[in-house]
Amino acid sequence: MPKVVGLRCRECGTEYELQATHVCEMCFGPLDVVYDKAGLKKIVSRRRIEDGPKSMWRYRDLLPVEDSVSVVTLGEGFTPLVKADRLGAELGLRNLYVKNDSMNPTNSFKDRVVSVAISWARAHGFETIACASTGNLANAVAAYAARAGLECFVFIPVDLEPAKVASISVFDPNVVAVRGNYDEVNRLCSQLVESTPWAFCNINIRPFYAEGSKTLTFETAEQLGWKLPDEIIIPIASGCQFVRHRQAVSELIEFGLVRSDRVPAFTGAQALGCAPVYNAFVSGADRVLPVKPDTIARSIAIGNPSDGVYVNRIARETGGVVEAVTEEEIVDAMRLLARTEGIFTETAGGVTIGVLAKLARAGRWKGDETVVAYVTGHGLKTADVLASANGHARRVEIEPTMKSFREKVNI
């Protein structure tokens, strides 16, 4: 008996057979994977997970890849959950954790979703993997397609950061640089998907791709000793992963993996330069209106977020908020995390830590709550933003002599 039984529309409930499609024909709502939960309940246990590999595949029972499938893996997941005492001391939080997902094989959270997506696609006969990307997804897709020996097409905005382009190109995919922003790239790809036999990770195989996100929250709970935190801070781009983290908490409770059934507060983080979800949260609107992105947090600069409405619904239901930070606050937060915890994150991580800091300084927490911030990408991906922002304030240049050292370095 397969564990994945089909797809279901999140909006109207219409059911579909298992296939590469992502959108409901009736209402255009997103499709989600439907599992044989009764069957899974008989086998899922903490023990079974703890005996699994030290990667996200220890949660394989809760991912949409059947046991018979050979997975495409580079050892993604099971990244460090760092107790952030020094950052916590600055922010008045005694139980603060950073889930450092920049420690994945291609240095971003995207390895989780792509490992699932490409495993599913290869098992279902696809020979070409594609995606529209702000950089991190393309990086992961190019690496995993190489690993799997599949053809690869990545579509990126033409002005993507040079560091990201280099770390994509090394895997030798077909890179299509589109003269437009991410939303325009995405729109082109959602038209292309109809005329190519390709698996677009974030489009026609999105229902499977998105499921990989859950493992980040599964790990967080396991690493906390099978406990759920009080609050989770998550960066918001399309909102896709935010929704899956909420689902992951439901599954942890439903399968009896965590001791308490208290759902954490889910808080979303955006850059003010691209804050359509934040705008709707603050105004109380049901709808999320698109914006034209203008921010250094390129990896999360999606002006037309597909899951934005769900983010706001979840934030409100769980007692979380959606907050946004300025460009300056993003860079300050990157430095703050680096200076206090030795973790170098990209601009998107600066958004998450910036929102954490902003909320902490505004008195959101008493101090003993368990708060987890998801840091989803590595700083080397966007190192250029630091060079132009007084990145070497403590640097001196000296002659190779003791005299020069004594003169210039005041210790």
Partner: protein
Amino acid sequence: MAQFRIPGPLRRLSDGAVTVDVEAHDLESAIEALDARYPGFRDRLLDENGDLRQFVNVYLNDEDVRLGSGLKAKVQKGDEISIVPAVAGG
């Protein structure tokens, strides 16, 4: 005449047609004209209040109509109207 581009998931409604020509002066009347020719489109694109459904993106000559005048957007001869489902990513 303006031209609709129909996405795959909705082509069952248009008897498989990828493009459909309509006479219209704004987006709202274009959708009415599309629905008159192939009944069912109105319900798929608009909600009970007559607004564009949350998960439907409509582009008038490559510009998201929600960034402009929405359903009141003026439609001229030769305009292309694309219906595109929302997608995830990053």
